[in-house]
Symmetry: C2
Amino acid sequence: MGGTRREIPNDPGRKRRILDAALDVIAEAGVHKTTHRRIAARAEVPLGSLTYYFDGIDDLLVQAFARLSDTMSVHYRRTLESAATRAEAEDAIVELICGPAYASSREMTLIFEMYGYANHHPQVMDIARAWLHRSRESLSLHFPEHVCLALDVLIEGWPIHRVFEGAPLDRALVAATVHTIVDHLDAAAERPGRRDA
Amino acid sequence: MGGTRREIPNDPGRKRRILDAALDVIAEAGVHKTTHRRIAARAEVPLGSLTYYFDGIDDLLVQAFARLSDTMSVHYRRTLESAATRAEAEDAIVELICGPAYASSREMTLIFEMYGYANHHPQVMDIARAWLHRSRESLSLHFPEHVCLALDVLIEGWPIHRVFEGAPLDRALVAATVHTIVDHLDAAAERPGRRDA
DNA sequence: GGCAAGTGTGTACGGTCGTACAGACTCGTG
DNA sequence: CACGAGTCTGTACGACCGTACACACTTGCC
């Protein structure tokens, strides 16, 4: 329909496959060794495809990180949405921190790469910012704003230890910390500035 | 003295200056754009110097990150050592999280780059591991082990938000969170596993 | 001064990178 | 079927990279 003929791609899923391949390469070799040729080989597409679908390597990286951010946000959101009570929400958070779903070795590596790259690329900075913002939104389904902030810090920070310690996290300690913040930070904030010396 | 003649470098501070220049380049351009030539230009030394002092670019990066880790560890340690009481230690932690000293934009960028690079390079992984370990040791001057772990997570995680939000942190909230963990996590851990459903 | 051993460097080479682009291919339309 | 707009790709080029290395320089010892 319409007057002139339009885009009839031979391989509609191609672009997405290239993005996934890019994330694979980034996870395995790091941004500093991510090249057109490596991505093309991994995605099993010709080199020319990459310059056809993307305006250079920066554009490709930006879209790859955007895809990563979306995927993670959805998982994050779903995990928190599936919790009905506050106690379940706490369990969900512990799962996000310790469990292999989010914060798997691959995801953590990619997040580090994204954070690192973001500091040198405004568009990726925006993507990272949006990712943090959406995380907090998901948390706010269950907790007041300041508690969300503190919990989000735990969710960002604790997996870092997991990556570098190499050992699985102490679930009981994570759970206790989450619970402590949920229970007492809430109360403490109602009397702002108060601190028993 | 001794039999044969020995190393008499013309410029003893050269190696350190190269390392500092490398960190500057990494902070400004990221590891993925850090090259021998850029570092040499920044340090104002000839290109050949870099291959003379270092066994390739990887070796240079490893030593640069080692230097970064040392510098930060010392600062971290001194900050915690200068606290006499627990309350002062809490303030010191808030300062580490919010203050511009540690967690300045430059330092955070470098840390991100280090974490990212560590995932693809065992030697840097060891350096990062050691850095986290020493952080926790410094914290243990004032707090029991499990509290140190939770506090360290805050110190790692909160500056991330600072970088991406762009705005300064809510000091009162940071202080309240630190205080909450110090006060209540300690007590909670004495009854391990306990959680009021 | 002559010598040898170690310090430091300018240049050049092979390799890889990002990207441009001529042209092969596909397919709706007239 | 002819055609042309649009989709895709193999190849090639200039730029830049890491690194090697021949060579100049410095300095203690005779």
